[in-house]
Homo-oligomer: 187 residues x 2
Amino acid sequence: MILKKSKNKTRYLILGLLNEQPLSGYEIKKLVDMRFSFFWSESFGQIYPQLRKLELEGAISKRNIVDMENTSKRDVKKYCITDKGIDELKEWLKEPVEKEVVRYELLLKLYFSNNVSSEVMLQHIMEFQVAHRKQLGLFKKYQEELQKSIDTHENYKEVLMVLSFGQKVWNAYDEWCEEMIHTLNKK
Amino acid sequence: MILKKSKNKTRYLILGLLNEQPLSGYEIKKLVDMRFSFFWSESFGQIYPQLRKLELEGAISKRNIVDMENTSKRDVKKYCITDKGIDELKEWLKEPVEKEVVRYELLLKLYFSNNVSSEVMLQHIMEFQVAHRKQLGLFKKYQEELQKSIDTHENYKEVLMVLSFGQKVWNAYDEWCEEMIHTLNKK
DNA sequence: GGCGGCATGTAAGTTGTTACATGATTAA
DNA sequence: TTAATCATGTAACAACTTACATGCCGCC
């Protein structure tokens, strides 16, 4: 009987984030959208059920907070990581990284694009460039912000490395787009 | 009543490939694994049912071939694209490209890696580099091969553009790995 | 005789998205 | 008062993987 390991990365994403600070499901979603969106994504439909599962298994614990701070009566469900959860996170960090999932619809279309006028591909590539340039601008902003708060971040070096990856790769995207736009315009 | 468009890209992958030449399900899988693996993937569990669906809808047609060429009696199911299929392919090519799916487990681990010794991340990054360097070497080989058979490829320009994307991005991966290995070794 | 590749397919399970329901609070 | 945002959740669906079943062929 082989023990099947969970391929569900949502689990470890939650553990990783809760290891920094207690969070609610909603806050996790927002954090991922803001910080991780260029290399990761999650939906509520994944987060909430996984939170329940992790709690049942004792990897995280729930604290119903009646929010003393701002006198609002709404109770937010904040989750904290447990020792068991920390252990599981560390185990996962040591395991080999699985091959990343990438699916570029742009390249699929480009490959088959001899069936369509070159203006169409030009348009697609220009849109791709605009979308990714927006992200490219954000990397610098994040890096500067991070510099200001080096002391409060125990993992600022790691975050810088992640941002550096983004910058390098998104820069490659941009250069490629420039070349392709040039090529297609000559046609 | 809003018409829901198929987000299932397998459909268009099949149409695109069959527009070049008639193929069997098995051949489609092999082709994707060889040519597209750096930006796309498909499994048999996606291909075969989609072939059936496309045939029922009249976008492709089946030819049971008794394989005259090599005297084997096995019948291979070769599929051809129909005019209806060509129309659908062209329509799809014109539609805006959806945001690509990317999920880098490596970056997720890196982000949380202050909880684990730096040797662990060093190992992960080195493995990432080796795997991607292998692909980086293939790009050049493909380009050279393509040069030899320019005349027989009506879409060689498009293929070159796709390969150029791979080269630029995989090169960025490699540079980033080099830097990170350097940084982590100093620790 | 057995193994690997060719070839087609399906069933079960997992993963992930989307749309919706609910309701409170906040800001225009 | 109406829209947006906060906040939690679920149900239905869609997409995708994995493992298996089947059987042929060729080769060592």
